[in-house]
Symmetry: C2
Subunit: 354 residues, 2 copies
């Protein structure tokens, strides 16, 4: 944890909740070491968790020349813990310690595969919000025919106002530009019909805001358009986004069990399934959300990436590499400028009662 590297240039430090995933700290350690190897130690990984346990676990790996450190945190917030009370009661949890280090600028990002609610709440409370951001938002990735689609909000904000969705669109647009390298990303509003005037009170009012904005707003898109990649960024309230995300995640599991069931029917089916396994795996993999690693929490004064409890070492590696890229891209500076430049909204559109 020196302030500078030997070249005098500030070292990038990414703190990793070592106790987040269901297979912690093993998957975290393996993922971090893979990330360091692939990035040639360009950054430092700071493991946060019970120091002795982590060092014991690390001793089983070849870590010579690896750019890492360990910061002690004695408590762990479980997946079943209530975020609010856990944060209040477990002041020395890996999530609290990691985010406080980040707030004090001792690290440049925080990555966790732990309790999503706790990471979202703690990031918002500890790091604070970026200027002009009403609510931080969780993005989620959907595979699509044109690459990846970013949907937000995926569960951070359940009851939304139209201007929240406008802000999500701005932040999502910057993310798609910097991380997907899409110029002038297409923003779609998730709705129950394509025509203007469709939807509930929230989407009708949001449509007007987005239409008047300087975003590349392509209008309403429907549930069926998400996987088609009609938009680079899909905005919706966090309730709808979370339901769709979890539904989508379940589809692969259900299909896999159906295929297994059919393979058990007879010898012929078993043989074919055996031959097809590789192809099937490739196809289903594109729909396997684990492959994308974690999802970003946008709008906080810092970089927070949140992963599944079931994150594999590969997912952890991808989360760390994505955090590094977000730092390199100066994501938050770009979001703040975009929010600053956000077209002033006519009062008629903001006077909505919802």
């Amino acid at each position: 944890m020196d302030e500078t590297s030997t070249q005098g240039k500030k070292t990038i430090r990414i703190s990793l909740d070592a106790m987040g995933s269901d297979s912690a700290p093993r998957n975290e350690i393996e993922g971090a070491l893979e990330a360091l190897r692939s990035a040639k130690n360009r950054f430092e990984v700071v493991f946060i968790g019970p120091k002795d346990d982590i060092e014991n676990a690390l001793s089983e790996y070849d870590t010579s020349g690896m750019n890492y450190s360990v910061v002690n945190a004695t408590q762990v917030i479980g997946m079943k813990d209530s975020p609010v009370s856990a944060l209040r009661e477990k002041k020395d949890s890996s999530i609290s310690v990691g985010l406080n280090l980040h707030k004090e600028k001792k690290t440049d990002a925080f990555v966790s595969a732990g309790n999503t609610g706790a990471v979202v709440s703690a990031s918002t409370l500890v790091l604070g919000r970026l200027k002009r951001v009403s609510r931080p938002t969780i993005g989620a990735f959907f595979p699509s025919e044109r690459g990846v689609t970013l949907l937000l909000d995926a569960g951070a904000v359940t009851d939304c106002k139209p201007h929240f969705l406008h802000e999500f669109a701005i932040m999502g647009g910057i993310y798609a530009q910097l991380m997907f390298h899409r110029d002038n990303p297409k923003i779609g509003l998730l709705n129950i019909g394509e025509e203007e005037g469709k939807g509930d009170e929230l989407t009708k009012a949001t449509y007007k805001l987005l239409e008047q904005s300087n975003l590349n707003f392509i209008g309403n898109i429907e549930g069926r358009d998400v996987l088609k990649g009609k938009a680079d960024v899909v905005v919706c309230d966090g309730f709808t986004g979370n339901v769709v995300l979890k539904f989508a995640e379940s589809v692969i599991g259900v299909l896999k069990s159906k295929f297994t069931l059919y393979a058990e029917r007879g010898l012929r089916e078993k043989l074919w399934m055996g031959m097809m396994r590789g192809t099937l795996r490739k196809i289903l993999k594109e729909f396997d959300y684990q492959e994308y690693g974690g999802v970003p929490l946008l709008g906080v004064k810092g970089i927070t990436i949140i992963g599944h409890g079931g994150s594999t070492p590969k997912a952890i590696k991808n989360m760390i590499l994505k955090a590094d890229e977000m730092i390199q891209q100066r994501m938050n500076e770009r979001i703040e400028s975009a929010m600053e430049a956000m077209q002033t909204v006519p009062t008629s559109a903001t006077s909505s009662t919802i």
Copy 2:
């Protein structure tokens, strides 16, 4: 269209919008004839649409001994028409004529694969609501590991109040009991977490109502639980339900095109795909919502079943048979009794501001 059959017993008449589907009236005719054949002419199908066109089309089929009639309606409401203005301007549309016949008790059900919005609006306006029903609701079917799950609302009511969802639960429960033959069907509330207290304002307030009801309420279920069949009936607002339904419908299309793409990669892949086609088709079929035929509109004073524009003859046949079953089961009488018996809700729970 005689009032009684030769046995003196009242003949059941199911009116069919002959101009609903994208392949109308061909798919409607073929589906209706199949339904009549399989039900051994137990009911009469009343085709609604341009009489000459329908009779011309019918003349291409062997209809001897088939129990059908044709009622003239000169106009057609297209899929792209705005429901409200189309209903106002096209008084002689197959949808309006069909529903007016049903209202006048000249038919016992109305089946259409036409413009969903128009059928929902017209059914509500023309037939009226059942006693104590605030909003009629569209159900949708999801395949699940335990059979079929009924989700409602799937798009009829976008902005919901807690007691609307309570009513959807009652109506859905009766449907599951009579049509899926499930005793004491399990009712789940679609939410973004399992624990009580999770969710947006609507679901938090709805949770309390359902908990106090005499329904078999199993609590919150998440997006990932829908296909697992955790609940027989899943209730949610029509915005969320519609987005999830359309997302689900798109998954099969995306997977099919992925498989086709892989099959084109090489001879080996092509051969395997050829061999697997039958099995694949069987698996995907379970997820193909077309197979279920149409969906019921519950809460109106009549039986309305609505199908996809792309309905196949088989889907039309299933819609007609389902209408017949709903009539036999006296669905609406059962719904009215259940609404009547609906436990009185304490004022504290109804004083919600949303």
